[in-house]
């Protein structure tokens, strides 16, 4: 798929924003301003942006522990996201959820999820609700290669297939589940190969090429939306960063990492834009803008208050 120039530029800008956001988070971590843990998607931005660009704005997104890309691609407010991660009361969840438990239903973002594989049944159930109501919306769930070894993967895809539910399963195969290489965790090493066990259509796309991702996702979504049932889309990608905050990445070689930087999705998109004649300065400007936006959001969020004890102890029940 060749995007129109503006679309590709928008995608690039969005990917720069995600990258800048996480780089800022890393900085905040090292300054001791950010607690807990957090999983960056550096290297995987094209997956989020490609799929979500192909989706409708009202398709429901269900994300996993590595969700910053998904939620920023969906257009959640940067500052409310930043505040959430910094635990402030003006965050999306008032600081209760943090990175792994962040939702924004008004943006059709159902939530990130800290339980590996835990989002798969939820997405399948959301799809059931959409079908039940006769909606043309689709549920789109992101998960990793590691998650595909959970029982929920099997159970959910089977039920979705039986009932032809409108759900797109997007596996971001970044070669590792934490430190475990996909070949050692997932017999056969390819998640999409599992689709046929459930009589599901599947496709694989280059997750570092945002256009390729969008093209595959568009096709898949069209099929799902037409009522043909669920679809499994595997995106071959790589996380350049560690699994989480303190990962020394000893389970893989520096050579591999360097090679994969060559295939970095930002770099590839940038090259495409340059080839299309977009001046370098304009691209640099997009990057700078992203960094500035992120910086501004962080500054504002760092001033924001925390919830009180009273607020914190309330609200378990609806």
């Amino acid at each position: 798929m060749e995007f129109p120039e503006q679309t590709l530029l928008d995608c690039y800008a969005r990917m720069c924003l995600i990258r800048a956001f996480e780089e800022k988070l890393a900085e905040l971590f090292s300054q001791g301003l950010l607690g807990g843990t957090s999983h960056f998607c550096i290297g995987q931005e094209a997956c989020a942006v490609g799929v979500i660009t192909a989706a409708r704005e009202d398709d429901w997104l269900i994300s996993n522990h590595r969700g910053h890309g998904h939620l920023l691609a969906r257009g959640l407010e940067l500052q409310k996201v930043m505040s959430e991660l910094l635990g402030r009361s003006d965050g999306y969840c008032g600081g209760r959820g943090g990175s792994q438990h962040l939702s924004a239903p008004e943006k059709f973002f159902l939530g990130t999820n800290g339980i590996t594989g835990g989002g798969l049944p939820i997405a399948t159930g959301a799809a059931l609700a959409l079908q039940y109501r006769g909606s043309t919306q689709v549920a789109i769930v992101f998960f990793g290669d590691g998650a595909s070894n959970q029982g929920t993967f099997h159970e959910s895809l089977n039920m979705a297939s039986l009932w032809k539910l409108p759900v797109l399963y997007v596996c971001e195969n970044n070669r590792y589940g934490m430190s475990n290489p996909v070949e050692k965790a997932c017999a056969g090493g390819r998640v999409s190969a599992r689709a046929q066990a459930y009589c599901l259509p599947a496709d694989t796309a280059d997750g570092s090429d945002v256009e390729a991702v969008a093209q595959a996702a568009s096709k898949a979504l069209e099929q799902v939306r037409s009522g043909a049932g669920p679809f499994l889309l595997e995106l071959l990608t790589y996380r350049h960063c560690g699994h989480s905050k303190n990962d020394p990445r000893i389970y893989r070689s520096k050579t591999e990492e360097q090679q994969m930087w060559e295939r970095d999705c930002l770099r590839i998109t940038r090259d495409k834009l340059l080839r299309r004649g977009i001046p370098d300065s304009r691209l640099e400007q997009l990057k700078t803008q992203a960094a500035e936006q992120v910086q501004a959001a962080a500054q504002q969020s760092l001033q924001a208050p925390f919830s009180s004890r009273e607020e914190t102890l309330a609200g378990v029940f609806a």
Partner: protein, 322 residues
């Protein structure tokens, strides 16, 4: 009307009232459920509303969570409470947390119905009352109605509640009979019920132990003893007010449950009493529960493990004589 019929009617009424209500679980279709509870619903409401699932407890419970987040009102059936462990993750880490952790942006109006308890001879993996497994999960409401009337009113309220509610039924209660109000009948999810007032002592109980305790009351009447039978009905939250009121009235407490004694609901109830009514106690709080062993298959052995009428009578006597 049988308890199982009361469940059935509550389901039918709610399915009729609200098109967002649907049921999912194993063999709930033409089979009517392992205990016949959903009989006739499939014929009336069809496969969308009575959705028969593969044997995938964890995921279909999680699906109910997802569907509830989008506004439907799923009623999940877990065929035996013993299988709830398979689905616990989605109750613990999704259903119970979503409203709070997403700061009220989403709610999970789902019900999970499941029969706990021993029916007689079903053995270790099909007889457990796992009420206490759920007690430490914030965000869940847990109810365990003991009569046909209660289960109708409670289940209907549970389905209309905007929170995840676990309704613990009981295989031994299904064939029990009792009067049930027709039509609209709702009971609060957080209230205990004094089923039989008394003066000597408070017997606090729930689920299948309730009829046993009522029978004990009859049995000891001729001795001139007069225990008050309080059905807890709601296990989370516990109805502290009613519990404390009864304890303050009688000064003596026996808690009877079908769950394992250790770590049971009785532990929490006893701890609450010790915190709030210590001054009113004329004797140590006594607890009866299942022995801390798996439940044997042999009927002859099962009765050694689960509280029997004689065990309760003995405890009542001990407590009186303290």
């Amino acid at each position: 009307m049988f308890y199982s019929q009361a469940v059935n009617i509550a389901l039918e009424e709610e399915l009729t009232r609200d098109p967002d209500v649907f049921i999912l679980g194993e063999d709930i279709g033409i089979y009517g459920g392992a205990f016949g509870v959903t009989k006739g619903l499939y014929e009336k409401f069809g496969p969308q509303r009575i959705r028969e699932t593969p044997i995938s407890e964890n995921s279909f419970t999680g699906m109910a969570v997802g569907a509830a987040m989008l506004g439907l009102r799923p009623v999940v059936e877990i065929m035996f409470m013993d299988f709830l462990a398979l689905a616990l993750d989605q109750l613990l880490n999704s259903a119970g947390k979503i409203h709070y952790m997403y700061n009220g942006q989403l709610k999970v109006p789902m019900v999970l119905r499941t029969p706990g308890g021993a029916k007689g001879g079903y053995g270790p993996s099909h007889s457990q009352m796992l009420s206490s497994m759920l007690l430490g999960i914030p965000g869940l409401k847990i109810v365990a109605p003991s009569t046909p009337r209660q289960v109708k009113g409670i289940l209907k309220s549970a389905i209309r509640d905007d929170n995840p509610v676990v309704v613990i039924e009981n295989k031994r209660l299904y064939p029990q009979q009792g009067e049930v109000p027709e039509g609209e009948y709702l009971l609060p999810l957080d209230k205990a019920e004094v089923l039989s007032p008394g003066t000597d002592m408070s017997i606090l109980t729930y689920s299948a132990m309730t009829p046993l305790c009522l029978a004990v009351k009859e049995a000891v009447r001729e001795l001139g003893w007069d225990p008050e039978i309080v059905d807890l009905v709601s296990l989370q939250p516990l109805d502290r007010e009613s519990i404390f009121k009864s304890v303050r009235k009688t000064g003596r407490v026996l808690i009877v449950e079908e769950a394992c004694l250790t770590g049971g609901i009785g532990a929490e109830v006893s701890a609450l009493i010790a915190e709030h009514c210590l001054d009113a106690l004329e004797a140590p709080v006594m607890r009866l529960g299942a022995a801390d062993v798996p439940i044997p298959s042999s009927l002859a052995l099962e009765k050694y493990v689960l509280p029997q009428i004689e065990d309760i009578v003995k405890a009542v006597q001990q407590l009186r004589e303290y």
